[in-house]
Symmetry: C2
């Protein structure tokens, strides 16, 4: 039985799946093996493939109550007909990041890097879901998933450029950008 | 390869293990099956037994920088010769708890319930380790492990009574108290 609110997922890259893999770019650290298609299994599954990455949605880790209300009000659903472009961006943060206390991580995440406030202005154009993978012993700490219409692809690139220039991103030690379309 | 700082563990109850299981008490919800001995596997392992529970130590979730310094300074190691009493207390929190924002959970945890400050005065008498299990899809969200000398057993019971009377504990919907000795 899956616990309510946990929402497990496995992203499986191989020869089948609803999404075509258009481009894999290693932003920090090594890339992922090449594959043609990406399938999203929910709930998660043991699966073969060129690679597969597991995560769970779970609870928010830095978002505060006021922000949560704003995010919930503005966040679009997945699977919108016009959202034919997607990105899976798995991210790992450094040992230094994880050894920080909760308030130190929150300060870098939002007070210095404006992760929530800066991302909010891209809503509802960009649909976004975050899956946590660190406790699962996976190679990445987070799996971030995005869906958007082709006309918002450059806005999505702007969002990524802003995040990657932030103080928070100094703690990212592995990041791969997997672009997909359907 | 195990990620640095993750520190996986499996508590296995069965017929072998360094600790004798003296008493199992269901505090909230159903108990765990009876067993004679408890073994602690680090890193974690797939294991048979009457029951087994997995977790990972990972990063702090509510502790702030000043508190972290105090806790690190006062926290004793595991395995002290005189610490022949132990307790494994697995805990699950409600869907309502996990749907709260980070600042709401922190407020209940420390501002209202004094979880950190109230526990600190029992250091270094009580050695304590927290393992997270929620993201692993385990039946409990946390595995808490304690070691203490027999003369501090009543202090340990005082600590538990204080926590169980707190606002935070209103969100606990499954808790089992497994007392062990070696």
């Amino acid at each position: 039985m899956i616990r309510p609110g946990l929402d497990p997922v496995t992203f499986v890259a191989g020869t089948t799946g609803a999404w075509a893999i258009d481009r894999v770019t290693a932003i920090v650290g090594p890339p992922l093996p090449a594959a043609a298609r990406l399938e999203i299994h929910r709930p998660n599954a043991t699966a073969d493939g060129a690679w597969s990455l597991k995560g769970v949605a779970g609870q928010v880790r830095y978002v505060e109550a006021r922000e949560k209300g704003d995010l919930n009000a503005l966040s679009p659903p997945l699977g919108r007909t016009e959202a034919t472009q997607g990105a899976l961006i798995p991210i790992r943060k450094s040992v230094e990041w994880w050894s920080l206390a909760q308030d130190e991580r929150r300060a870098i995440f939002e007070d210095h890097s404006r992760h929530i406030a800066g991302s909010m202005k891209y809503l509802p154009r960009i649909a976004r879901r975050l899956f946590h993978a660190r406790d699962l012993g996976e190679p990445f700490d987070f799996l971030t998933w995005f869906e958007f219409a082709p006309e918002h692809a450059s806005a999505f690139d702007d969002l990524l450029a802003t995040l990657r220039a932030s103080e928070e991103w100094k703690y990212v030690d592995h990041e791969v950008d997997v672009r997909v379309s359907r």
